[in-house]
Amino acid sequence: MLGLGIIKGLVETGRNFVGSYFKPERLVTIQYPEKHLPPVEAARTIPFLVYDGKDSMKGLRCTACTICETECPPKCIYIVKDTVKKPDYLGKMQNQPKVFDIDISVCMGCGICVEVCPFESIKMDQVFELSGSDRFGAMLLHKAQLVKSNDYFGEICHEQATQINAARADDVRKAEAKAKADADAKAKAAAVAVSNAAAGVAAVAASSMTATPGTTQPDSKPAPKAASTSTPLPAPSKPTVPSATP
């Protein structure tokens, strides 16, 4: 009969009305400015710049490659390269941004800058209380306002940050290993050259042994320079042992 459903509905809302006074757990809302919902891992609002270590400017991962600037659909990123370079986490000299601005009134939070960044330098933030009293100035965030530490990133995106940290630690280890290997190869080559000059007995055998590291040499062009600066490395390391035995 028409009307029964209406009465059922009225009873339901009536129960909600009375129940909300006696059972606080019925209330589905939270009192916002005082209380916050627990953050959600995948939540994203605007981008921020990640830095390692203590000093936000020294540890900044951004290399001012401007890929994000190019890819940004609403063109809210503005980057100016600095003339001075600084070493990155692997010790390589990289460019750094002099100016890095994001207009968050333009940003649409798509996260494409994060996708394209090769340096894991730009990430999506979870802050949302971004309102300001100034229509233009307050919405244009500068580099100093954008930087946030890697630890913060670990807090808001634990899983992703752990992966990235592991990958980067791996990179460092590999780079170190490679640097060592290169240094050793250098040392070895130098030693071989010295022994060749001293006594050309085992020249053929030795040169055939060193041919393998020798061929890899052109791939890592900047390496020798770095290696040469750090030449005083201890010579006895594992890969060089078999060639050193004869």
Binding site: M1, L2, L10, E12, T13, F17, Y21, L27
Partner: protein, 401 residues
């Protein structure tokens, strides 16, 4: 003692009018009637906005507004209307460039003024109608119909498609529901034999018996009351009939281009219209200021009126918290295929009730009740079934493949 408490406002008015020079007394008398009504229902409006939001919140397991503080003192949100008022009054009044400026300005005025005039005929207590018009109920519906024009003016002058669609919906809805609204009052007028609201209330008095003869306690009265309530909800554009301002479809309907004080006036006008219709429902069906039984007559008449009025307003809010919005075709079908036939049948039932009142034989009363109740319930069920296309079953939803 009881009588003097009951008539305290009437004697106060007489005293006040008596203080003034005699030549000015007609004007002062008018003013003394108008000012309290406007103050009272203005306060009712403020209170309703906050309690409506509170009740809606609680019905949806929320808290509702609870934050407004005055000088650092928590008020549990009770000062929200004041905050809203300040916000509305200080907002920029935006008039669209293409709008018809004069009509755009006049529309809220044309809506609000007649809405206030509606209260002049409603008896708020014993001897407490501002003007005791001979044709008061006709006045009520005549002046109430002026709001259609205001809605049209608002929608058309905004030069906005949403506004126009909203106002056209509103007018179609108001015209359709005015028919059952008026038809459902006709049985009351027939049996009370008058068009004057005061006399309609008198006719529902306790009289010699123990219980009051409120019209809602008769089969035709109950049916008429239900039809009147549904039509009144639609007439005041309230949920579930809030299609004219369906925010998910047409932004805010005819209110889209209104802001600031003009918007506040529209808001006020809608609530005032709702109050007036609720007051008329109380007057016509719930016995106006009459107490339900002899023993309760010591409570002053105006308290009875406002008690019933408050119950109706809370019911309107409760319905709003419960029911989803209708579709336009459902809305019109409900009016023309359900409410109008019911109201027409109700006329016949009321006439039968009247003539069967003179039956003298034993068990005349139950027979009278039985016949009339059957004549009310059977058409109700039948038309309800017709409205659903003859079958009553949960709706099957078909999704796009």
């Amino acid at each position: 003692m009881i009588d003097s408490l009951d008539q305290i406002f009437v004697s106060l008015k007489h005293w006040l009018v008596g203080l003034t020079p005699e030549a000015w007394q007609p004007l002062v008398s008018i003013l003394v009637s108008i000012v309290p009504i406007m103050a009272l229902f203005g306060t009712c409006f403020a209170a309703t906005t906050i309690f409506e939001r509170k009740i809606l919140g609680r019905a949806q397991n929320r808290l509702g507004p609870n934050r407004v503080r005055a000088f650092g003192v928590k008020t549990f949100g009770l000062l929200q209307p004041i905050a809203d008022g300040i916000k509305m009054l200080t907002k920029e009044d935006i008039v669209p460039f293409a709008a018809d400026k004069v009509v755009h300005f006049l529309a809220p005025v044309v809506l609000t003024t007649p809405a206030w005039m509606l209260f002049s005929v409603i008896p708020l207590g014993r001897n407490m109608a501002a003007i005791d018009l001979d044709a008061g109920i006709l006045f009520f519906f005549a002046v109430g119909s002026a709001s259609e024009l205001a809605v049209f003016m608002a929608g058309w002058s905004s030069k906005n498609k949403y506004s126009l669609v909203g106002s056209m919906r509103a007018i179609a809805q108001m015209i359709s529901y005015e028919v059952p609204l008026v038809l459902s009052t006709i049985p009351v007028l027939m049996l009370a034999g008058t068009l004057s609201p005061s006399q309609v209330v008198e006719a529902q008095g306790v009289g010699t018996g123990f219980f009051a003869h409120w019209f809602v306690f008769t089969p035709w009265g109950l049916s008429g009351f239900v039809v009147f309530l549904i039509a009144a909800t639609a007439e005041s554009n309230r949920s579930p009939f809030d299609l004219p301002e369906a925010e998910s479809e047409i932004i805010a309907g005819f209110l889209t281009e209104y802001s600031g004080f003009k918007y506040a006036l529209f808001f006020l006008g809608e609530y005032i219209g709702l109050f007036a219709v609720a007051g008329m429902a109380v007057t016509l069906f719930l016995g106006g200021w009459q107490a339900p039984c002899k023993a309760l007559e010591f409570i002053p008449s105006y308290l009875w009126f406002f008690g019933k009025f408050a119950v109706l307003i809370v019911f309107f809010i409760w319905v709003r918290a419960t029911l989803p919005r209708l579709r336009l075709d459902q809305l019109l079908a409900l009016a023309w295929r359900f409410l109008v036939p019911l109201a027409l049948i109700n006329l016949v039932v009321a006439a039968l009730w009247h003539f069967m009142g003179s039956w003298q034989f034993i068990a005349a009363m139950p027979v009278r009740w039985g016949i009339c109740a059957m004549l009310v319930v059977l058409p109700f069920v039948w038309f309800a079934r017709l409205l659903n296309g003859g079958k009553v079953a949960p709706r099957k939803y078909r999704y796009a493949e």
